[in-house]
Symmetry: C2
Subunit: 243 residues, 2 copies
């Protein structure tokens, strides 16, 4: 499985909260391999554990090395991330554009996703080691993402591209016309029975109702509920007439 | 512009750090309208300001109300978010699937993105007020995202779908064959001149070099650099021969 060949490399992280949030985001998206390059001596590991929540095993299992070269020595693709553009960064592409290439490489090779310091990003020397650069789409007015948020977006794009996640979707199929028309017939009778419309206006009003109910797909469950409403209303209307 | 009609609604947030991170993520993705529904009395606003960084104007400009109904009273679409699936949540779709629908609606209407409490999400009563539900793709083993991370993913998907962001891309066009072939001719001469290969092996070796240089697109700038290398090497090789 490709995702297990992807390692997350944080260069010189300063804040424990960010490191912990990265761990949780990794667990949320099927990643588990974390390397810290020369983390700040003041990095608060208690805060990291707090933000990692149930992903503390990723935090505890982290590797620590002193240079980026050591961290990515075994990797083919080395994807740097950048908020700024400029020298050495102009060939950056978005995480969505890179995701298929990263997964293709990770099917057979170690791949690194490299994130720079909170206050300074990656140095030009560190960018030189990266084979390619990722730029996360963001507003021109405030382009700089929090470290853990930048991680989340990249991991999320890889997770979605990996196709592991399957949306639940509707459990019942869309209702076929035969049943839907039966429901509309019942509603027509019901709306006449309660005096909501008279025979003359009925066709016009039913077109309005058809528009409401057919604007989005109707499932068999939906139509069963609508039939139940009509059936019960008719029953109640008959009761009222009798009393 | 659609994004300005989208309001972010946090129901009962507990932690200032998350509220601040949400503000920064909003600023990163062109959103600015924040409403808090009954925030925790213990919510740490100093922490919120710290995490909002340059997005403190969104934090200061927030509205506070006591119920979700008040918060979304003026909205057409009310999109709830959920990590769990189950009762009332089975019709959830991913943020990427919803993004076009949300932007279409936000072109002419107020739209709400609703996020539940950190520890408990949204109640069934709150979910009932939502017109639709968003589920963020995440690992089965740890599906629950941090509040601000869930926000980031939703905002990011809307920002990308809005098409505001334009990738920088290459500044020079891809190199046309004529120029590229000229470069290969120079390299052939150069590699013969330095004795890297002899005439007999040259064609075979050049196929290897063509494969390396053509594996990814070559721009005119790239080819100019490669021509420069060949030219300088030939010059140096000639100097050496003379001495």
């Amino acid at each position: 499985m490709s995702l297990s060949n992807i390692k997350v490399v944080l260069v010189g992280p300063l804040y424990g909260g960010n490191v912990g949030s990265i761990c949780r985001a990794m667990a949320n998206t099927g990643l588990s391999n974390l390397t810290l390059v020369a983390p700040a001596l003041t990095l608060n590991y208690a805060e990291a554990r707090m933000m990692a929540v149930a992903a503390d095993s990723i935090l505890e299992g982290r590797k620590e090395v002193s240079t980026l070269e050591e961290a990515v020595g075994d990797c083919g693709l080395v994807m740097g991330t950048t908020a700024r553009l400029g020298l050495y960064r102009q060939h950056a592409r978005t995480p969505r554009e890179w995701a298929p290439r990263i997964l293709e490489s990770a099917a057979a090779n170690q791949v690194a996703l490299v994130f720079g310091r909170e206050n300074w990003g990656l140095t030009n020397e560190e960018i030189a080691i990266c084979t390619n650069m990722i730029q996360i789409p963001s507003s021109e007015e405030y382009p700089s993402l929090n470290l853990a948020q930048a991680g989340m977006v990249c991991f999320y794009e890889l997770f979605v591209a990996a196709g592991v996640f399957e949306a639940v979707g509707e459990k019942t199929p869309e209702c076929p016309t035969r049943t839907r028309e039966h429901m509309f017939t019942m509603w027509r009778e019901m709306l006449l029975a309660i005096g909501f419309m008279d025979e003359e206006k009925a066709d016009h009003m039913m077109l309005g109702l058809r528009r409401i109910f057919c604007r989005a797909p109707l499932t068999e469950d939906d139509v069963r509920i609508l039939m139940g409403v009509a059936r019960q209303t008719m029953w109640k209307a008959r009761q009222e007439t009798r009393t």
